[in-house]
């Protein structure tokens, strides 16, 4: 992963009319997401919220180039994404650390891949491990870590490569409130310095509003699509500790939450209602 390059042209991430369907075992196809339009300019922080199973990870996978949309087009900085999006780094929702590498080797991975010498990569990794509070665990293997520690290692692994686009899938959900706040601050700092584009998935609407320039709401599945897009015009820099008392925050929260609630309950009700249908 090369160091941040000067943004070339167009959006950092641009999904146009993307639909993704999966074959199911019964031979039918299942529409995960439908007609997704997502445009993220360099330097923008966009969050995606939505009910569970609505297709958030699917969208991120398409933006990363790991899934090809069934219909539609994915571009990054004006270039169509074929194969992996080399200008993005992706923190997965699942555990994705290499079990055979120690914490520090896992964090160094991106640098090693880019040809950085081992000594240099390790000293840089140590810096990042410190940021995520894992300095003392550098020599552990992933199975020797707690769930939250593994997540933080993954965060360091994704951040260290200093990419143009940060894709993050529920990065902080396994962390306690305090650690989460520290991580959020780190993320904001990393982003503000650099003009990176961030696409961030979370279940915590507070977090989404506090961090983002824009919050997208994904509708209920199957075949969900973007049902709402909200500009968060709270000025930066923001104080994450006090932002929840900001009247603009409260107003936005109420507005978005109202919309989100509808979608979330829709998902659940549809699942409850379709008795025996299309199992």
């Amino acid at each position: 992963m090369p160091a941040a390059q000067p943004a070339t042209s167009g959006y950092a991430v641009e999904l146009t009319g993307c639909t993704k369907q999966f074959p199911t075992s019964s031979g039918e196809t299942y529409f995960a997401v439908r007609d997704i339009d997502l445009k993220v300019e360099p330097g923008r922080f966009v969050s995606i919220v939505g009910p569970t199973g609505s297709g958030k990870s699917t969208i991120l996978n398409m933006a990363a180039g790991l899934l090809t949309p069934s219909v539609g087009e994915v571009k990054s900085f004006g270039e169509p994404v074929t194969g992996v999006n080399r200008r993005a780094s992706y923190m997965f929702q699942q555990d994705a650390l290499l079990p055979w590498k120690t914490v520090i080797d896992n964090v160094s991975l991106g640098l090693t891949m880019a040809g950085v010498s081992k000594a240099e990569a390790h000293s840089e990794s140590r810096r990042w491990l410190e940021k995520v509070g894992l300095k003392n665990f550098a020599d552990r293997y992933p199975h020797q870590l707690s769930g939250g520690m593994r997540k933080r290692t993954a965060i360091a692994q994704a951040w260290i490569v200093n990419p143009d686009i940060l894709l993050m899938d529920e990065p902080f959900s396994a962390l306690d409130v305090q650690t989460r706040q520290i991580m959020e601050n780190e993320l904001l700092q990393l982003w503000q310095e650099s003009g990176k584009a961030v696409v961030f998935i979370t279940h915590d609407l507070d977090e989404a509003i506090a961090l983002s320039d824009e919050v997208l709401i994904l509708g209920a599945g199957p075949g969900s699509t973007v049902v709402g897009s909200y500009q968060i015009d709270i000025p930066r820099p923001r104080d994450l500790l006090d932002i929840r008392d900001d009247p603009r925050f409260v107003a936005l929260h109420r507005e978005i939450w109202g919309r989100l609630k509808v979608e979330v309950s829709k998902t659940y009700e549809s699942a409850m209602a379709e008795e025996g249908e299309a199992a």
């Binding site: 992963m1 090369p2 990363a64 790991l66 992996v84 999006n85 080399r86 993005a88 780094s89 992706y90 997965f92 699942q94 555990d95 994705a96 650390l97 290499l98 079990p99 055979w100 590498k101 120690t102 991975l109 991106g110 090693t112 891949m113 880019a114 293997y141 199975h143 692994q157 490569v161």
Partner: protein, 249 residues
């Protein structure tokens, strides 16, 4: 553990000795352990066995190394290039089913009477074992790990080094455990079919003159050698797979 193993060995050999002396076991086919050990001792102390052993070891080690290397390379390539895999699979299966002993004359033709025909022989055994296991090993690597490494900028070569090889390592070691034995078998059988030296040659000669003591002595020496090699493979395995959680249950 070693103690129990020794005990077990002693019990089996002791029973064998007693039954042999009592005439229950036919010495013509199963010479007394004491006689076997005596023969082993003579072979070793007279130095008779060492040139033979050296020849066989050369062959087996070459067969093992070449077979494992080619098996690994083929395994990795075919696992990564789905087209090739589907193309080659039936051919490889076919060749795997060829009874190699029948091919002995052709091996002699191609590789001469020296060690290379035996290496080729062992190779055909080792290769398939390592190949099929590597193929499956690479194919069963966790998708998310591969995706993650690719997102971090891994080239195909780096993927191989940092993801596929370590992940397939358990598979590869399983196949290596099997192929250590098969490499030696291959070398010995190769010699057995035509040679002027090597453990297979020594055993064949003993067998040709009804010297079953010699046959068993030869096999016994081979066993010891394999045990030592396997110990080394185990060491290596434990080192390379040290990241795995220790089983406690």
């Amino acid at each position: 553990m070693r103690g129990i193993q020794l005990l077990l060995t002693v019990i089996v050999l002791g029973a064998w000795e007693v039954l042999g002396r009592a005439g229950v076991i036919d010495e013509f086919f199963f010479p007394l352990p004491s006689d076997i050990f005596q023969t082993v001792w003579v072979w070793v102390s007279s130095g008779f066995v060492f040139p033979h052993l050296w020849v066989t070891m050369q062959e087996a080690i070459l067969a093992f190394l070449v077979g494992a290397a080619v098996g690994l390379i083929f395994g990795f390539i075919l696992a990564r290039v789905r087209f090739l895999e589907r193309l080659m699979d039936p051919f490889l299966q076919m060749f795997n089913a060829l009874p190699r002993v029948v091919l002995a004359p052709i091996f002699l033709l191609w590789f001469g009477l020296g060690i290379w025909s035996k290496v080729a022989f062992g190779f055909t055994l080792v290769f398939f074992i390592v190949f099929f296991n590597t193929l499956e090993g690479v194919k069963s690597v966790d998708r998310v790990l591969v995706d993650n490494a690719r997102m971090l900028g891994a080239s195909e070569k780096q993927l191989l080094r940092h993801v596929f090889i370590p992940s397939a390592l358990t598979w590869i070691f399983s196949s290596l455990h099997i192929s250590v034995g098969f490499a030696i078998t291959g070398a010995v059988v190769g010699e057995y079919l035509g040679a002027s030296g090597g453990m297979g040659y020594a055993i064949a000669q003993a067998q040709g003159v009804f010297d079953t003591k010699g046959v068993f002595a030869g096999m016994f020496i081979l066993m010891i050698v394999v045990l030592i090699i396997d110990l080394l493979v185990n060491r290596l395995e434990r080192h390379l797979l040290r990241w795995r959680p220790v089983r406690s249950s």
